[in-house]
């Protein structure tokens, strides 16, 4: 990213010299006018004081040159208009010569004084400006969130302070400098110069071609290089440039550290997720496999001596466990698709009754002695959703409800329509979920501690998938108290929308 900025230099006062001289002439003319008036009222000698005042005014306002001009002009005007012979430049009176000398002397002294005062004021102003600029710069440096911001600020301030074009290059992946930020009238320096400057050990600034180069070196590496498009730099400018660059170096070091920390945090989170996934996969794939291998090998080896009933039980175990394995793999697949953001919603008009019916149908064999009640309010609107995903979410919820239900318990699926949304409750009579865990259960790989029936512990993916699928539809899913204070109610809320509305996925 490159930026170029128009810079107006605030450090040099833009008062034109021509204006100062014109001002001096103006003041003298005004003094002459005033002197004609005063001449009638006051003694002749005091007129010179009037002109002197004019010279002083010019001297304090401008500098040596204009005040000298004013003094010469004042003398000439005084001589021309107010000394005899009038209206000539002839000097007859010796006192008038003395006046001229006084005029010149006064002008030289006061002009010098004024000029020095001006210079000092300008310098003070300049250093004040510099200090406030530096302060502003260091504030920006310490608050900069990223490398880009540091480089932009550096380019801006350098260009301002040195009144020349500045380009900032930063080291790229291959260890070479790459242009990142520009300010002022900066063109690119010739590539050979850049390369030569980059390989130079000296930090700079040093001149090469038509540019000055400065390097930013952190504790760890050469980070960046500044190219200042100027032929010459005085000691003050070098000092300033160096100090700006040093501050930027510290800021770069800091942002780099922050980025490294962030990266480390990300890596460790990914690592955690990966190990959780691995342990989940190895546990949840192996457990059913252990039953399958055990049961089939038993039937194969000793099947002849088993009763028909026992053989059937074992084979049923194999089938059940294989189906569980299949569900788990489906969950992993769904999770991957949700995680990659590659889940595509294929919305269609769907009757919620159908979704609930096929959910119940898919889980009917797992219900055992549990009873499942379905209560869908009449006049339910058609939903514009990806039916298979909503069904999968309901299957996962029902799977949980079955897993946590006490023997002979009741499970209820109830749906109602209010205004612009549909609420689906899935309630069980299980142990319930403490308030503190009601949000956590939707985290990946989180499994509730109590209430599971031993080996039926799940992978902790089911609810995370549920939430992913429902949220993809613009809905929400939350855990609540069960009915009559028993168990849990999981509530899905889906917005009722039409094609083309709220379709984000």
């Amino acid at each position: 990213m490159q930026r170029t900025r128009d810079i107006r230099n605030p450090l040099i006062p833009a008062v034109g010299a021509t204006r100062a001289y014109a001002g001096a002439v103006g003041v003298v003319i005004a003094t002459v006018g005033l002197a004609f008036v005063v001449d009638r009222l006051m003694p002749h000698a005091s007129l010179s004081l009037l002109f002197l005042t004019g010279v002083l005014i010019v001297a304090t306002r401008t500098g040596l040159g204009p005040s000298l001009l004013a003094s010469v002009l004042s003398f000439l005007a005084f001589n021309f208009f107010f000394t005899s012979p009038y209206y000539t430049f002839e000097v007859t009176d010796e006192g008038d010569v003395a006046t001229l000398v006084f005029f010149l002397l006064m002008a030289a002294i006061s002009g010098n004084l004024a000029a020095r005062m001006h210079r000092e004021m300008a310098e003070r102003h300049l250093s004040l400006q510099r200090i406030s600029n530096l302060y502003e710069f260091s504030r920006r440096m310490s608050s900069a969130a990223g490398t880009e911001e540091v480089l932009d600020a550096l380019a801006d301030y350098l260009a301002q302070a040195l009144n020349s074009g500045v380009e900032v290059l930063i080291v790229n992946d291959r260890g070479l400098p790459e242009s990142r930020a520009r300010a002022g009238q900066a063109m690119s320096a010739p590539q050979p110069d850049i390369e030569a400057a980059w390989s130079e050990e000296f930090r700079g600034p040093f001149a090469l071609g038509a540019c000055h180069f400065l390097k930013l070196v952190t504790s760890r590496q050469r980070m960046a290089m500044v190219v200042i498009h100027t032929d010459s730099m005085d000691a003050e400018q070098v000092r300033l440039a160096r100090s700006l660059c040093d501050q930027a170096t510290i800021a770069l070091d800091r942002t780099q550290l922050v980025a490294d920390l962030e990266q480390a945090r990300l890596v460790s989170e990914t690592e955690q997720l990966r190990s959780a996934l691995l342990s989940s996969v190895s546990h949840d794939l192996r457990t059913p496999l252990a039953s399958i291998i055990g049961s089939t090998s038993s039937v194969l080896e000793y099947g002849d001596s088993f009763s028909e009933e026992n053989r059937k039980t074992l084979l049923e175990t194999v089938l059940g466990e294989a189906q569980r394995l299949d569900r788990h793999i489906q969950n992993l697949l769904d999770m991957t698709r949700l995680g990659q953001g590659s889940l595509q919603l294929r919305r269609d008009w769907v009757d919620l009754n159908d979704i609930i019916a096929s959910t119940a149908d898919r889980m009917r064999d797992t219900l055992d002695d549990l009873s499942l009640d379905i209560d869908v309010a009449p006049e339910m609107p058609l939903l514009w959703v990806h039916g298979v995903l909503i069904e999968q979410a309901l299957v996962n919820l029902l799977d949980n409800a079955i897993r946590f239900s006490p023997p002979g318990g009741r499970i209820l699926i109830a749906a109602r329509h209010c205004n612009d949304r549909v609420e689906i409750d899935l309630c069980d009579e299980g142990p319930g979920i403490p308030d503190s865990e009601r949000e956590k259960i939707f985290d990946m790989f989180y499994t509730a501690r109590d209430g599971d029936r031993g080996s039926l512990q799940g992978s902790g993916l089911g609810l995370a998938i549920c939430r992913g699928m429902i949220v993809a539809h613009g809905g929400s899913i939350t855990a609540h108290d069960g009915r009559n204070g028993r168990g849990t109610c999981m509530r899905i809320v889906l917005p009722v929308i039409r094609p083309g509305e709220g379709d984000t996925a």
């Binding site: 189906q323 697949l333 009754n353 159908d354």
Partner: protein, 233 residues
């Protein structure tokens, strides 16, 4: 093999699946022939004249849809497709291309046998062109356009009757939304599935069908509808 129930061709590249299919099908007195590749399958279709084809959609040499299209150019032999889950679009495409039904992998043999029976029966049924359909208390008299449930006559609108007649003509076989929309409405309404949802709702209501536990019309999520048959359960 005089008592054979017919010949079934299995086109599937997984040897393990071919093996258990062959064992189970032969135990049910079907004659079985196998092909690993689509090309061989097509040739066997011509030489063996099977009564039914079991086709895996993921063949190494050709796309399942391609196989169906090429077979359908000259043969109307019923096809039951084997597909991997979460590929609804693939299933629908296969059905629209001319497959008669599908089973999702992994599947139980009972489910496949039920599908095979249903498809074979309805392909025979199509030939005999019965004038009355009767199952589970539902009676449809095609010649008089009369419908009754458990002996009680039911009045259906023209579209409701069309839909029911379609489902009944292929009992137990899945019909995609597109197939139904094309048949009951016209080509212009092919994507307006909400008409279909509403019509199915009305028809279920008139037949006294509970949508949560349908007795007659079963929804196949994301694919279509089928008429429930006792054999499926």
């Amino acid at each position: 093999m005089s008592d054979s129930k017919g010949t079934i061709l299995i086109v599937e590249d997984e040897a393990q699946i071919r093996k258990f299919l062959r064992i189970s099908l032969e135990a049910h007195s079907y004659r079985v022939c196998e092909a690993r590749l689509g090309q061989d399958g097509l040739e066997l279709c011509a030489s063996e004249k099977p009564d039914l084809v079991i086709l895996d959609l993921g063949l190494p040499d050709m796309d399942g849809q391609q196989f169906i299209q090429r077979l359908r150019e000259w043969s109307s032999v019923p096809i039951v497709v084997l597909s991997v889950r979460a590929m609804e679009t693939e299933k629908i495409a296969a059905l629209d291309a001319g497959a008669n039904d599908y089973v999702t992998k992994p599947f139980g043999i009972g489910e496949l046998m039920a599908r095979i029976r249903v498809v074979l029966r309805s392909s025979e049924g199509a030939m005999s062109a019965a004038t009355v359909f009767e199952a589970q208390g539902l009676r449809v008299d095609f010649s008089h356009r009369e419908v009754s449930v458990d002996g009680t006559p039911v009045r259906l609108s023209k579209k409701e009757y069309e839909l029911l007649r379609m489902l009944v003509r292929f009992p137990g076989q899945v019909l995609t939304h597109q197939q139904i929309l094309r048949e009951v409405w016209d080509a212009g309404r092919q994507n307006e599935t909400h008409y279909l949802r509403v019509l199915v709702g009305q028809l279920r209501h008139k037949l006294g069908d509970d949508p949560a536990r349908p007795r007659f019309i079963v929804t196949v999520q994301g694919v279509g509808y089928r008429l429930a048959l006792p054999a499926q359960r």
